[in-house]
């Protein structure tokens, strides 16, 4: 990790992929090639374009990727608009890695996993999914329930269909909010789909998506008999420093940037409902 | 006066004329009164206070409060009534939802002036016949009320209530010779360099806490330009020392012709910057260039900077500093 915590590295954007109409994935490498730093699945980094702003973005690539890091960014503010407009070869600044990762090195080992994601919420858990694919023997089955507004809004669609669906022990369940021409898959909201799938209670759930999806999926899981100790999520709040000092991303006595962004739901129960 | 106010508050709450009372709530020391909305008779009996330290202008709270259900009683000092009228003129408060009682004011005390006299460790203050007996852990002190009167009250422009539904005490008179432009004249007489030095000396103390803006009854924008990240001027603290000047100058321009000279900006400034002088300069200039005008005096009056007349002064004629 950089010893000067607020001073970033410079990275080069080497590939830009349009994922959906408003999401692009940026591949970032060190100017001389290779990764800027190592990270663990679920961790984040502060991306910045000097003069525009700096924002916390999850690292969507797996740590097992040795060549580059990837960030998937939805266009929704001034920095993200700038990132969406830039071209390959542009340098940006990156600092990190920040935060608590998904416990893939201990608690999740050997477990059957269920990943539940909505929209851009697949980005933070994609890091876990690809980590698990690269360490296939260390984990049990993997169910992925992923939904978005429409087929066009499903991120990593090619990767899902060509790679995840062909991974042994992986079951991918896609859904979109409304029927659409050319879509013969499931239609409906993620929380309902999870209930319909009626997953076995031995699974550990990793969840990320819009707050409303999280709320209703969690409720559904509780009804099915899951315990909060089995369900992890990853949070997003306004951040500036990324190191638990600037004081704005706290939920109660926890800083999302440092103590999160990954939380288990029984831990969130201890915190005030301010997120 | 407090007794009379409390009595009326209880009556009006009791007969359903109003369902809330906006007044001042007692604190730990006699001077640390907090504006508060009282909803029940018990709250009024328990905490309602009116004394020489109730300087806070309550009218701005009506922007929010007059949009709530039911009618609210507000107590207004003479200078507060000008802010009240100005807010009506700008359609920022809903008059029908307010029952305004004017209360007499003979000038408010400034606890900073007690501190400046070296009085500290205050445990209580008795106010009688223009004299304060201040009890402190270091012994009692006696001061005359006028010795610790707030500067803004020493140059009070008007003891007249310009808006009310009911009065407690007399309506009051406009103070003709209030001398409130004395310091402005001194500043005008300075050379540009001297004046620049004066303002740099004052404004360089600014910590960008926004207290002046947030207390100001003329600052009621839904979103302030200084809070808009796209405005280019939204810096919180200055990246270079000139920015705080811009903040205050832009603010003074924005309230020009609308500022009633209530003096709240200077009262709340933690760094004691005489911000009211900027506003008074504009008031004086408006008087000079467009004829005598007092913002808030008459909510029907057309504001001089908000109307056009063929004989309006041309920008070049206004003079200003000659470098």
């Amino acid at each position: 990790m950089n010893t000067e915590t607020l001073i970033p590295y410079v990275g080069v954007v080497t590939e830009i992929t349009q994922q959906t109409p408003d999401v692009k994935t940026f591949r970032v490498e060190a100017p001389g090639g290779g990764k800027l730093f190592e990270h663990k699945p679920g961790q984040c980094a502060m991306l910045s374009v000097p003069g525009i702003s700096e924002a916390m973005i999850s690292i969507t690539s797996s740590p097992t990727n040795t060549e580059y890091m990837e960030f998937s960014v939805k266009k929704c503010g001034c920095l993200t608009e700038w990132l969406h407009a830039m071209e390959v070869g542009q340098m940006i600044t990156v600092r990190g890695p920040y935060g608590r990762h998904f416990p893939v090195y201990d608690e999740l080992l050997g477990k059957n996993l269920m990943i539940v994601a909505g929209g851009i919420g697949l980005a933070p858990v994609r890091s876990v999914i690809n980590y698990v694919r690269d360490n296939r023997d260390k984990f049990g089955t993997v169910d992925i329930v992923y939904g978005s507004r429409s087929k066009d809004d499903l991120v990593y669609y090619d990767e899902i269909v060509n790679e995840w669906m062909n991974t042994p022990g992986f079951n991918v369940h896609l859904t979109i909010d409304n029927p659409q021409e050319g879509w013969d898959g499931h239609v409906g909201f993620v929380p309902n789909y999870v209930k319909e799938l009626n997953p076995d209670l031995d699974k550990t759930v990793l969840m990320c998506g819009p707050p409303i999806m999280i709320k209703f999926t969690l409720g559904g899981l509780m009804e099915l008999g899951f315990k909060k100790e089995q369900v992890y999520t990853t949070m997003e709040l306004r951040m500036k420093c990324g190191i638990g000092k600037c004081g704005r991303c706290n939920i109660g006595n926890k800083y999302v940037c440092k103590d999160g962004p990954v939380f288990r739901f029984d831990e969130l129960d201890e915190l005030p409902n301010e997120y | 006066m407090q007794k009379m106010m409390e009595k009326r508050a209880l009556e009006l709450l009791g007969d359903g004329t109003v369902n809330r009372v906006l007044g001042w709530s007692a604190g730990d020391f006699i001077y640390d009164v907090t504006p508060a909305v009282f909803k029940t008779a018990e709250e009024v009996q328990d905490k309602f206070l009116y004394n020489d330290f109730c300087g806070a202008n309550l009218s701005k709270y009506l922007v929010k409060e007059s949009r709530k259900e039911g009618k609210i009683l507000v107590f207004l000092k003479p200078c507060d009534t000008y802010s009240f009228n100005q807010l009506i003129a700008e359609h920022r408060i809903i008059r029908e939802n307010i029952y305004a009682i004017g209360v007499e004011c003979f000038g408010k005390a400034d606890e900073e002036k007690l501190r400046a006299k070296g009085i500290t460790g205050i445990t209580g203050i008795e106010m009688k016949d223009g004299t304060y007996t201040v009890h402190t852990v270091y012994g009692d002190e006696t001061v005359k009320a006028y010795e610790v009167m707030a500067d803004r009250c020493l140059s009070c422009k008007s003891k007249k209530h310009v808006a009310y539904d009911e009065l407690l005490g007399s309506e009051g008179e406009v103070v003709e010779d209030c001398n409130r432009f004395d310091m402005v004249e001194k500043l005008e007489a300075m050379t540009p360099d001297e004046r620049y030095e004066f303002w740099r000396g004052e404004l360089s103390r600014c910590i960008r806490c926004n207290a002046c803006r947030n207390i100001c009854p003329a600052c009621t924008c839904e979103q302030c330009v200084f809070d808009n990240p796209n405005s280019g001027v939204s810096q919180k603290a200055a990246v270079n020392s000139f920015e705080e000047n811009m903040f205050h100058i832009i603010r003074a321009f924005h309230v020009a012709g609308r500022c009633t000279d209530c003096g709240e900006c200077s009262r709340v400034c933690p760094q004691h910057i005489p911000l009211h002088l900027l506003n008074r300069k504009f008031i004086k200039d408006v008087n000079t260039f467009y004829g005598e005008y007092q913002a808030g005096e008459n909510p029907e009056a057309k504001p001089p900077l908000g109307k056009y007349e063929k004989n309006d002064i041309e920008p070049g004629e206004a003079g200003g500093a000659k470098a």
Partner: protein, 340 residues
Amino acid sequence: MKKLSLAKLNDFFAAVAAKETLYLPVNNNVGKAEYKKWESGVEMSSALNTVRSAKDFFFPQTENLMEFKMTGKSVEVFDTREECEDFVIFGVRACDAASFAILDSVYLVDPVDSYYKSRREHGTVVTMACSKPAETCFCGTFGIDAANPAGDVTVWEVEGAYMLRANTEKGEALLASVADLLEDGCEKCVEEAQAKTRAILAKLPLAGLTTEGVGVGKTKELFDHPAWASLSESCLGCGTCTFVCPTCQCYDVRDFDTGNGIKRFRCWDSCMYSDFTKMAHGNSRNSQLERFRQRFMHKLVYYPDRNDGTFGCVGCGRCLARCPISMNIVKVMKTLGGKN
């Protein structure tokens, strides 16, 4: 314990200032105390405390972090900070001295803030015991002794002289550097001065203020407390309390286009401001009630939770004196503790 005759005070300041920059409370043009650099002829303020706290020395209101040069698609980063020089702050009160420990617990824990650390290492803190506390003082509530402040050197004023005690190596070095101005001190005089101050402290109106009802583990109980609505009702949402507070340490990071590159600086921020937690797609604290609650929960519950029960307030009383509407942490504590 050493003694400095007040007749030699100016020589003492001159000797210290000859070696490193010396700051002390000085009355400004409106008669309020603020820390200023000592130069010949500068007189120390007799005020109990400065309007702004001493945190500025370690956590300045604005600070340049780095600069960037953008050329075409390339970005260069420059660490532009200058080497911090040694300095001495003289006349820090017990409350502010205690606030440094609180700032340390934020900025010196991993990952260390190197900007802050550098200034901490180069600064020597000389504290001054209080002799005339004000009605707004309540440091005792948080276990701080105004008669025995922390710091590298502690000073007590006794008749005609200062008594000085070095508490750290830095403090020893400072006193050693001016040894020829000092005489042997008098422990007993200090004890007498302390006894006097403590007798006054016990009589202050807030002497009985306790932390009952707040502190570690109170989040669930206090977060939804009905009193937040009335407590925050007249809050203006300004940043006065945060900016005069010696322990408020939140900051914002901003970029400024100088026309010749980008300057990235940080500046004090306030949780009372509406944009503090605003994101492109929402805000986790939309109302002033939530923002107000955050400030006090942070000091009275969240910070103690993270720091073995230490409170994030030192009772300096600045917010009591400065809040435009006289709402403050004491009123909050009394209300939450059921005393109001």
